[in-house]
């Protein structure tokens, strides 16, 4: 039996991609299927270096279609399987993820967002929000965690396996090129040492016993003959998702109770916004901070509560309103003024957020 990859707690300084690989090992992930694309490559690099020591497996596939479908195969076989991608790879992966939604396969995908559309930049963006939350044909029955720090990359990579296997919806960790490539410090830990139990996995196919004799055979499909048949299945799925959503949804917020203006952001941009709100508060501005950690499902009740109290909402993102659209849908009917600071494909600094708020407030 291979030794535990992390004994107790360990303070480290490393890149986000390295963090993800360590987190996947710590989460007892069995197998990674992947195809190279910048900026997520080092997840595979570190995973492949660690796998002999910890008895894990890897397959480099021919493309992201295959990476997604082989990951689905790994889950079908009952393994804690995952993949990682970005940009155009994320686009291709929407096809297998649609099948994962249809079959309720707990596929875990790490996305390190790059610029878009198309090849664009290999560096950074928050432009994969719409695709990651709602990509594929269907209703977007998936979970998306948007991380802001390396600590969160570690925490939520572990958590994504448990969310996926508990609720049986494909689950994404949505990082970005900055998180992938930069180094920062974090505490790695063995999940068990923090009371985190990994949700057990089980095979969909290849279970013991003679199918048709000892047990019913598994006949998984994503094809339905008539509309009503599909409707019946989706009704159940949507009910399951609606029930799970409040349990899954996460957010971070402060200073929202008396705030006239609340800054809403996600991912690394929320770090700039957090600092901006603190600075503005010190200068006497009545501003608050709200950050959805799950972009799908969104923390809808909390968003509506915050939006109901504030006079203005300022959505800040490195995209042209992809988060903004999700927020507007979530608080539909709310008359609070919606303002924005959109910089598609470009990072956002604290100074820019402060300047934008001062511009609004005069």
């Amino acid at each position: 039996m291979p030794e535990k990859p992390i004994q107790g707690e360990k303070r480290v300084f490393m890149t986000g991609n390295e963090v993800v690989a360590w987190a996947a090992v710590a989460a007892e992930a069995d197998i990674m299927y992947g195809y190279p694309i910048t900026p997520q490559n080092e997840i595979m690099h570190y995973w492949t270096r660690m796998l002999p020591k910890y008895g894990r497996r890897f397959l480099q596939t021919e493309d992201e279609l295959s990476a997604g479908f082989t990951t689905a195969g790994g889950v079908l076989a009952g393994r804690r399987a995952f993949t990682a991608t970005a940009g155009p790879g994320n686009t291709l992966m929407q096809e297998p993820l649609s099948m994962a939604e249809a079959m309720r396969l707990p596929v875990v995908v790490i996305v390190q967002q790059r610029g878009g559309p198309s090849t664009a930049t290999v560096i950074y963006s928050q432009q994969e929000v719409t695709m990651t939350t709602l990509g594929g044909n269907g209703e977007g029955l998936r979970v998306v965690y948007s991380t802001a720090t390396h600590q969160e990359l570690f925490d939520y990579t572990i958590k994504s396996f448990n969310t996926a296997w508990k609720y049986r919806f494909p689950t994404f960790v949505l990082g970005d090129g900055y998180q992938a490539k930069m180094r920062e410090s974090l505490t790695m830990y063995d999940p068990a040492s923090r009371g985190i139990t990994m949700v057990p996995t089980e095979p969909y196919v290849g279970r013991p016993g003679m199918p048709g004799v000892d047990r019913e055979p598994t006949h998984l499909r994503n094809t339905y003959n008539v509309e009503e048949e599909l409707f019946e299945v989706l009704e159940q799925y949507l009910a399951d998702y609606a029930k799970a959503a409040p349990e899954i949804a996460e957010y971070d917020a402060f200073d929202t109770d008396d705030a006239e203006l609340v800054v809403i952001s996600h991912g690394v941009v929320s770090r700039a916004c957090k600092e901006a709100v603190k600075e503005l508060r010190e200068e006497g501005y009545k501003v608050g901070y709200f950050r959805p950690i799950t972009l799908r499902p969104l923390p809808v009740d909390q968003l509506r509560d915050v939006a109901g109290k504030a006079k203005q909402l300022l959505v800040v993102e490195s995209a042209n309103g992809q988060l903004d659209r999700l927020i507007k849908e979530a608080i539909y009917g709310c008359t609070t003024e919606m303002l924005s600071l959109f910089k598609p494909g470009v990072g956002i600094t604290t100074e820019e957020v402060v300047a934008r708020v001062k511009e609004i407030k005069g």
Binding site: L65, S66, T71, L76, A77, G78, Y204, H219, L220
Partner: protein
Amino acid sequence: MSVQPAMPKCWRVESKPHKFCPGCGHGLVLKALGQAIDELGIQDKVVFGCDIGCSLLSVDFFNVDTVQTHHGRTTPVITGVKRANTDVIGVAYMGDGGGYAIGAQHLVSAATRNERITAILVNNTQYGMTGGQMAPTTMPGQKTETSPYGRDVNTMGYPTQGPEMVAAITQEGAYVARGTVANIKQLKGFIKKALENQMAGNGFSFVEALSTCPTNWRTNAEDTWKFVEQDMTKYFKVGEIKVPGPREEKEGQ
């Protein structure tokens, strides 16, 4: 008293009669596969993947674990299952589109990597379920919905020689054959060898089965058999194309 033909034990009685059109070759290919599974005693080990297109109608055909995938993606799904659980016997079942068009990169790559799975490809020279469009295997001059004046080889090339391609790109240990529904005993033998090759851990196994589609060919019984037995075999030579050599000491997987 009527005598019922012997059906494979692993067939799922509840899903019979099957859903394929009258005269379709799928039932015969699946019968050959079922017999091979019975003879090898591997019903509890097989994980069967079917593609989109007519092959998806085989989702509940057998009492074996089955997953119906997307068009062209059956090979990677079964690859993923096999890589994650080497105890299963993975069968990827697809049509000519799933293997030679939309899923060609997966077939090529699985063959190149010598994946320990068995791919069975049913070649009926056109796309059946979507209404009879041209396929990579459509014969020169053959009329389909998207080649209404007949396949023009000057613009659309010649039919894909799938097994020949797979044989060319696989390493030692691969098994490649082309059978036909016109000779079920031989086809069953090829499929059985393909499964045995996987069970032995030798390498990729691939069987193409020449098959019929009287619905889209708009042929009667006589013309259907003429097309599959005479016309198709002019381009698609039936027989074993690659067989593994004597087993060598294999490195651990």
